[in-house]
């Protein structure tokens, strides 16, 4: 099955179609949706449009189950945010929630039915030592203890080594940027921090402004090699864009902001892909004067690569090219992440460590 023809994508494009799905469609939707982490979102879309009565009850039970998991995570995240806010209050800097945590805490459009595995925050780079100290005092410890991983994150990445809470076991990624220090593209996290919106009810918790939500989500998707969640992340972008473009000026503000932050590349990929895959009603790249310098052929090649890689959402939509696309994009993500004189020793080290029995490989950083 081609991913573009999958009933899952049809339902995401036009939730009303779910009313006419047959048993065979539902069988695929539940399998693909569960594997792609999108079953909760479909449940929320169906519930929101009053389609519950036309969905077979076994299918609805699976959607309820996914919504229940998402709801539980939302509660857990709100609690963690409260504790983070308390732990970091003495530092006196803004703490910006990113992605899943921001969606959940602020009730943004992608939040309904969405699940996630860790909490990402962005803080000013100058405050990192204080932030880390106060997190440690509140029970957050580094989950990567070996010296190489510590150096890898601290010297080259845009985040501290991932942290885990010693009692609650929750995962926390503390970012000071949205791209690695060594990345080919440079952006301006200080501008994202400056434009962040205060989250009511917390003294020091913020979420990125709408334009930056889209730009960060796109940057994350197209710069990291996590294609297992690729379709879910693309659907997040679709949810954000569908909600924000109701404001007629949004797209022009978004493209201006992308230029300011030097993120027109990932935004171009995102807008092109949501149009192809999810029929998101956004203007074309040429209408937005966002054409990539290297032209139409490159656009077609990149779109094909990304669409193929999103086939990793479920075995049924994998194409013969999916594995190759994932590999090429993995190489690309590393190419974008580090200059070659750092990358080759890093990959060599990772491959050697992987061969040592009983020792985990050096981490593939998670943004």
């Amino acid at each position: 099955m081609k991913l573009a023809d999958a009933p899952l994508l049809a339902a995401l494009r036009d939730p009303g179609l779910m009313a006419d799905f047959g048993d065979n469609d539902w069988d695929w939707v539940v399998r693909q949706g569960r594997s792609a982490g999108l079953l909760g979102r479909l449940g929320a879309l169906a519930g929101g449009r009053g389609l519950k009565a036309s969905i077979p009850s076994p299918v609805w039970h699976h959607m309820t189950a996914a919504l229940t998991v998402a709801d539980r995570q939302r509660h857990a995240v709100l609690w963690e945010v409260k504790l983070l806010s308390r732990a970091l209050a003495p530092v006196g800097v803004p703490v910006v929630l990113l992605k899943g945590a921001a969606y959940a805490a602020a009730g943004l459009p992608p939040a309904a039915g969405r699940t996630f595995s860790d909490i990402d925050i962005l803080v000013p780079k100058s405050s990192l030592p204080e932030v880390e100290k106060h997190l440690l005092l509140s029970g957050w410890i580094s989950s990567h203890q070996d010296a190489y991983a510590q150096r890898y994150y601290r010297q080259w990445m845009h985040e501290l080594p991932p942290m885990i809470h010693i009692r609650r076991g929750t995962n926390l990624d503390v970012h000071h940027g949205i791209l690695p220090e060594t990345a080919r593209i440079k952006t301006r996290p200080d501008l994202i921090l400056a434009a962040a919106k205060h989250l009511p009810g917390y003294g020091n918790i913020f979420i990125p402004c709408p334009e930056d939500q889209v730009l960060h989500s796109a940057t994350h998707l197209y710069h990291e090699g996590e294609w297992q969640h690729g379709l879910r992340d693309l659907s997040d972008l679709d949810c954000l864009l569908r909600a924000y473009i109701e404001d007629a000026d949004f797209m022009s503000r978004l493209t201006a902001r992308a230029r300011e932050l030097n993120l027109t590349g990932p935004l171009g990929h995102a807008l092109s892909n949501v149009r192809i895959m999810l029929d998101t009603p956004v203007p074309s790249l040429s209408q937005l004067s966002l054409k990539s310098q290297s032209g139409r052929l490159r656009r077609v090649i990149m779109d094909n690569l990304f669409v193929s890689a999103m086939g990793s959402a479920h075995p049924s939509v994998r194409r013969p090219a999916t594995g190759a696309a994932e590999f090429l994009l993995y190489v690309r993500s590393h190419w974008l992440r580090m200059p070659i004189h750092l990358l080759i020793p890093h990959l060599l080290r990772k491959s050697l460590e992987r061969n040592e029995l009983g020792k985990p490989a050096a981490p593939t950083p998670k943004p």
């Binding site: 048993d23 069988d27 076994p58 229940t68 539980r72």
Partner: protein, 299 residues
């Protein structure tokens, strides 16, 4: 159609393409090429309904691991829609791993229900829930009761429907371990037992075929009436004592797979369940005495 209506060759062919097996509220599409799964299903699931097509809750596969291990100490893996949640196991664990795999699917995804790690049986329209810590003799007691005219709903997973608080049957085979296998064989000549899986993480495991009546009524929910915490103690007399409702609440919540996940709904479901039930501790050593005691309780 019932699974038992298929010939052995017909069943084998279905298992190659995907056999859709109905167990209570769930339909599972099973693919397997292993003789152990074929034999286990043929013997223990003959009364269950099978289907040709339609929506399936879970898609699973149990098959030999390919490569050199095909010939040297062959292994099998359980796949849930392409994912492998468990490490490969010895080939003779194939049928047991299908049973564990089905439990894994339900426990991991069926959050439409509050799920308790407990057995549940019914008689005279009243259901008894038997939560049990490992070694408490829950499965042995469940097997004996199910062979004595009690309707089996489940021996591992008690499903409480979140919509109405009723207990939902699975009626799948009862898993017996180690010494309890011979105890049940001796308890009733009518006990139909599958092939043993040796040296599993639970020791030797054998599955008991559920009664035809239990399977026939697997679409029929039951009303909770009793929660009984069984404990097998050697050479003791059968003894039924009061179990406080507050303790029963905590015990039931602790035995639930998804109490936490359901949040306030989980609290309400457990509270309503405990409210609706008389709660007891039960000590026993002899199965016939235990069956007598339960017959009186549910009379």
């Amino acid at each position: 159609m019932r699974l038992g209506d298929l010939s052995r060759d017909g069943l084998r062919e279905k298992l190659h393409d995907g056999l859709i097996l109905e167990t209570g509220p769930f339909r599972t599409r099973i693919v397997s090429h292993t003789p152990e799964v074929l034999a286990g299903l043929e013997l223990l699931y003959s009364d269950f309904s099978v289907h040709d097509d339609g929506f399936c809750d879970f898609h699973v596969q149990v098959d030999r691991v390919s490569g050199p291990r095909r010939y040297f100490r062959p292994q099998i893996t359980f796949k849930f829609d392409g994912m492998e949640p468990f490490k490969p196991l010895p080939a003779d664990h194939a049928f047991a791993s299908l049973e564990w795999g089905l439990n894994y699917c339900i426990a991991g995804y069926a959050h439409h229900y509050l799920m308790l790690h407990a057995a549940v049986l019914e008689k005279n329209g009243r259901a008894v829930i038997l939560p049990g810590d490992p070694g408490a003799g829950k499965s042995t007691l469940t097997a004996a009761l199910s062979l004595s005219g009690f309707r089996l709903l489940s021996d591992e997973l008690t499903l409480v429907d979140r919509d109405d608080g009723m207990l939902v049957p699975l009626a799948r085979p009862v898993s017996l371990k180690n010494a309890s296998i011979d105890i049940i064989r001796n308890f009733s000549p009518r006990a139909v037992l599958g092939d043993a899986a040796y040296d599993t993480h639970k020791g030797t495991v054998v599955h008991l075929k559920p009664s035809t009546e239990s399977v026939r009524r697997a679409g029929e929910k039951a009303k909770p009436a009793l929660i009984v915490f069984p404990r097998w103690i050697a050479d003791t007399n059968t003894k039924l004592t009061h179990h406080s409702k507050a303790d029963a609440f905590m015990d039931a919540a602790n035995h639930a797979f998804n109490y936490d996940l359901l949040g306030s709904l989980g609290y309400d479901l457990v509270a309503n369940l405990v409210d609706a039930c008389d709660c007891h501790d039960f000590e026993y050593s002899q199965l016939p005495d235990a069956v007598q005691a339960f017959t009186e309780l549910l009379g």
